[in-house]
């Protein structure tokens, strides 16, 4: 609060109104009822002070117009001031001049407007502003213009503005009232909570809001009384502030020695007229933090070494491969000072043998306000089986619980976990919806021998060993259990952590329709027994096959050949015929029906007229290899190649109609007209060898049977030089020609396949035609078998995966090979065929390091 102190010191000069008048002397003694003379008078600025008067001999005005002087006694102006003289009565006069003299009586004459006029009327004023410095008005000269005033003129107001200091003190930029004894935080007079023993400072500002120098005259400048917990840490830098001078500051420190309120009074002596000394109270509260930790809302005593589920310090059981268990703990600050956790982040430490199995996953705040709290989360993830113990430790600035510790415990457990997979898909335990996607649906299979095997995997994803304790380990039950066979049993136990064993189920339907069963695997895991349903469908269908000379003729065959009787050969056009018999076999489980009606076998094609089905088959052929036959007669109407197609409509699911091409060649019986059916000795000409391998060759020749059934063979043997030995059978081996026996009169091409030949060997061979009329030998010819490359174990002139497998079979004893193959398989030439040979052969095939150089 500011006060402006107006000090008016008026030692009234004697104002003498000189009322000039033409007649008679006027007097001016009516200024005041109680005039005084020569006594200083104090005024307050702005107040209308009446009573200015005059006294003394020098104040006697004469009755005449003109100037009169009034001698002032003591009007002191300690500083800059102004004087206002007001005519209360409103009389018109001329304030002709005002003389101000110093104490040394130096006249200041002519200052201001001289004369200045105060007009008639209330409130008329005249103002004079002397310069700074102590002055005494000792004479005022007033001149009137009316020599005969008939009214009173009362100069009743003297207004003086004086300079003075004005002190104000602020905290937090807020003025603190002098004498304030109610400290508040807003102006920093209340320091708040301060931890006991710690110090806290507040800075205050001293201002001079007056217009004269403010002096701070205390010693010390800022004094303190009251609680000894306060001290002036920093005194003002100076003991005065000039008018307009810079503010001064001082610092008060509080260091609570105990809890509760601490109060002191600040006092500053100064020269402010009404705020001396300037005082105000300061206050602080001694405070301390207090830690308390709770689990599940229950306080855990510092040092607690008995973990309990009630306060979450016992984490209970947890599988070592399972999900971790998290518990949340709350740190409360029940004190009135901020609680600080003093360890580095995460501010909470875990110690002890089992510390590695616990982890701080949520970090608490490091500072907790009074009455506040923060939380942290501890995750328990056991690495081994059994009790896992650790100690939580929380360092803080709590005075008597640093660190705050308590024990925690959890128990690691192990257990098996079973899953069964089919086709790499998990089959849910109790599954009753067989599905091909997980192999529980075996699909459709013919009841006549169709089987399907599926492999299932028992997987143990748990942390403990899995024991299959059923007998059998995997059991098939249900209405069609007999159609499902456990063709491969699983193995028990199954090791922990993704151990697995497999078993196989083979489906062999005994009846038509859906065949359902259930699989049950008893075990010691949580899904005991593990069951799921399986399904298969028994089907029945016909399956058609046609054979000629015992050789199957594929449906759609367009390449007639003598070997399966689809090529009827040469037949004279003069009425000769050739009849071939074909067999229809039903290899399916249902009756096969020929569905074309009459005829059942249809001949189609350009030369269909040359082929006649002289005996139709039966329309129904029994299941499971029932048969019927039909005969086709070839009777060429013209020479040359004659072709047709047989078509047999039927109810086979995928071979309807069953078709195949047939052909024959019409020939003239004789061009010369000579008898044609003369029996002769056969002739034979040895042809070339072809398709020679290391052990086989194809040899050809031409034969004229001489119209007699002729046996055709090829004789062959090692050449052992350029000519056959004279005393050894040069042709120890015989191969019958594929076409033998032959008959007729034309030149026939014959051939045979020679097998079991020695590699890298020259063979000689010849064709031999023998009939009832004699034997004819073709000329000798030769060929040389090939040699084999190392590793070509199956002698197909390729070293590939098949050779790797053979080598592995030899190395592991599954295959006994002859010396030739063993030599080929001994890839590293160490005299033995072992796994190293397999590896080297594999590397050779793959073209990577380790193969044969």
């Amino acid at each position: 609060m500011r006060f402006r102190i107006k000090r008016v010191l008026v030692s009234l000069a004697i104002l003498v109104a000189v009322i000039s008048g033409a007649q008679g002397a006027e007097y001016i003694d009516s200024f005041d009822d109680a005039p005084f003379a020569g006594n200083p008078t104090n005024f307050t600025t702005g107040e209308a002070s009446r009573g200015l008067s005059y006294a003394g001999a020098n104040c006697d005005f004469g009755y005449s117009a003109g100037n009169k002087n009034v001698n002032a006694l003591a009007l002191v102006f300690p500083g800059e001031a102004s004087i206002t003289i007001t005519s209360r009565a409103g009389g018109s006069f001329v304030f002709k001049s005002l003389y101000l003299d110093t104490l040394q009586a130096a006249t200041i004459s002519g200052t201001g407007d001289q004369p200045f006029t105060i007009n008639v009327g209330a409130g008329s004023t005249g103002t004079f502003s002397p310069t700074a410095g102590d002055r005494i008005v000792n004479q005022v000269q007033i001149a009137t213009v009316d020599p005969h005033p008939d009214f009173d003129i009362i100069f009743d107001t003297v207004t003086v503005d004086l300079a003075a200091p004005e002190i104000d003190i602020e905290g937090n930029a807020t003025s603190i009232e002098d004498g304030d004894n109610s400290p508040v935080a807003t102006d920093h007079t209340h320091f708040g909570n301060i931890v006991v023993g710690e110090s806290f400072d507040r800075t205050f500002t001293i201002q001079n809001e007056g217009d004269a120098e403010l002096t701070l005259d205390g010693d010390p400048i800022v004094g303190l009384t009251g609680s000894g917990d306060f001290s002036v840490e920093t005194q003002p830098a100076a003991d005065s502030i000039d008018d307009g001078g810079a503010d001064l500051t001082f610092v008060v420190r509080c260091t609570p020695s105990g809890t509760g309120d601490r109060t002191a009074t600040v006092s500053i002596d100064n020269n402010d007229s009404n705020e001396h000394p300037y005082t105000f109270d300061v206050r602080a509260t001694g405070a301390v933090p207090e830690i308390d930790v709770q689990g599940d809302g229950v306080s855990i005593a510092d040092g607690d070494d008995t973990p309990d589920p009630v306060d979450d310090t016992d984490f209970g059981d947890s599988d070592i491969l399972g999900e971790s268990v998290g518990h949340t703990f709350t740190i409360h600050n029940t004190g009135n000072a901020e609680l600080t956790l003093t360890d580095p982040s995460p501010f909470v430490t875990i110690e002890g043998d089992g510390a590695g199995d616990f982890e701080i996953t949520t970090v608490p705040d490091s500072s907790i306000d009074p009455a506040g709290s923060t939380t942290f989360v501890v995750e328990f993830d056991p690495s081994v089986e059994g009790d896992r113990e650790a100690t939580i430790s929380i360092a803080s600035d709590d005075a008597d619980e640093d660190p705050y510790t308590f024990d925690i415990i959890g128990t690691g457990t192990v257990a098996p976990q079973i899953d069964i997979l089919g086709n790499s898909q998990i089959i849910p335990n109790g599954d009753t919806t067989p599905d091909a996607a997980d192999d529980t649906d075996f699909g459709q299979h013919d009841i006549a021998g169709g089987t399907q095997t599926h492999t299932f995997t028992i997987q143990n994803t748990g942390s403990g060993e899995l024991t299959l304790d059923g007998d059998p380990l995997a059991e098939v039950t249900g209405p069609a259990a007999g159609d499902f066979d456990i063709s491969l049993e699983p193995v028990s136990p199954v090791t922990a952590v993704d151990g697995e064993t497999t078993f196989e189920i083979t489906f062999n339907p005994s009846a038509l329709g859906d065949r359902e069963a259930s699989i049950s695997v008893a075990n010691d895991a949580d899904k005991d027994p593990y069951t799921f349903d399986i399904l298969g469908q028994g089907t029945s269908a016909p399956e058609m096959d046609i054979q000629g000379t015992g050789q199957s003729i594929p449906s759609g065959d367009i390449t007639p050949a003598a070997i399966d009787d689809t090529d009827f050969g040469d037949t004279h056009v003069d009425g000769a015929t050739e009849t071939h018999t074909f067999t229809i076999e039903n290899t399916g489980s249902a009756q096969l029906n020929l569905t074309n009606g009459d005829p059942l076998v249809v001949v189609e094609g350009d030369h269909a007229i040359d082929f006649t089905v002289v005996q139709q088959p039966a329309a129904a052929i029994a299941a499971s290899r029932g048969t019927t036959t039909f005969d086709v007669r070839f009777d060429p109407s013209e020479t040359g190649l004659r072709t047709a197609t047989l078509r047999i409509a039927n109810d086979d699911g995928d071979e309807n109609p069953y078709t195949f091409a047939i052909q024959g060649t019409g020939v003239f019986p004789s061009q010369s007209g000579a008898p044609v059916f003369v029996s002769q000795a056969a002739t034979a000409t040895t042809g070339d060898a072809s398709a020679v391998t290391h052990s086989t060759a194809r040899v050809e020749g031409t034969v004229n049977p001489g119209n007699t059934s002729t046996t055709v063979t090829f004789e062959f043997g090692p050449a052992n030089g350029s000519a056959p030995s004279s005393n050894a059978d040069p042709y120890p081996f015989v191969a019958v020609a594929e076409q033998s026996p032959v008959d007729g009169t034309g030149i026939l091409t014959v051939h045979a396949f020679l097998q079991n030949l020695q590699m890298d060997c020259v063979y000689q061979y010849r064709v031999v035609a023998k009939n009832t009329n004699g034997v004819c030998y073709g000329a000798r010819k030769t060929f040389k078998t090939h040699s084999l490359e190392r590793g070509d174990l199956n002698a197909d002139y390729m070293i590939d995966l098949l050779d790797i497998r053979i080598c592995a079979q030899i190395a592991t004893g599954y295959l006994v090979a002859n010396d030739q193959v063993l030599t080929q398989a001994d890839f590293d030439d160490d005299g033995d065929v072992d796994l190293e040979d397999v590896q080297r052969l594999s590397a050779y095939v793959l073209g990577i390091e380790g193969g044969e150089e």
Binding site: S424, A811, E849
Partner: protein
């Protein structure tokens, strides 16, 4: 190019791999042709990944041999140096090479004793690289399969 060899022996069954992907999908084939399937890549507790290969409907007495030639494997998000193949159910991995900087791996495996019509045959173990999902695929054109009867199985 010459590279190192790793080899292993494992007793068990046989299988055929026609196509392996990291998406655990069926490779659709016509009836009576080999069916090949692969498990989705699954991660072991130690962080390693595995893919298991299985087959079904193998002709010729079952699968007896498998050969993946150069360029046959395609690895995505996989550390090639960590790849290791092992046989299942009797398959013997006779040669394998997945080492960098090879653009892909090669592998040979056979079953000495028998052919397998249906069942697991191989397991590929590896570690992932990068942040994407690991995936393995085999180009069927680079794949050779043989049967227990000693014939090449046509794909």
């Amino acid at each position: 190019m010459r590279r190192g060899i790793q080899s292993h022996l494992i007793l068990g069954c046989v299988a055929i791999v026609l196509l392996l992907t990291g998406c655990s999908t069926w490779w659709e084939v016509a009836d009576s042709t080999p069916q090949v399937l692969a498990s989705a890549p699954y991660q072991q507790p130690n962080g390693a990944w595995e893919v298991t290969l299985s087959v079904a409907d193998m002709p010729g007495g079952g699968l007896a041999g498998i050969l993946v030639q150069e360029g046959g494997f395609v690895f995505t998000n996989i550390d090639e140096d960590s790849i290791y193949a092992s046989g299942l159910n009797g398959f013997l991995v006779t040669a394998q090479d997945f080492s960098a900087p090879s653009p892909s791996g090669v592998l040979a495996a056979v079953h000495p004793a028998a052919g397998i019509t249906a069942g697991k045959v191989l397991k590929l173990s590896f570690r992932a690289k990068g942040t994407g999902t690991p995936a393995v695929s085999i180009q069927s054109s680079k794949l050779v399969l043989s049967s227990d009867e000693g014939t090449i199985i046509e794909q």
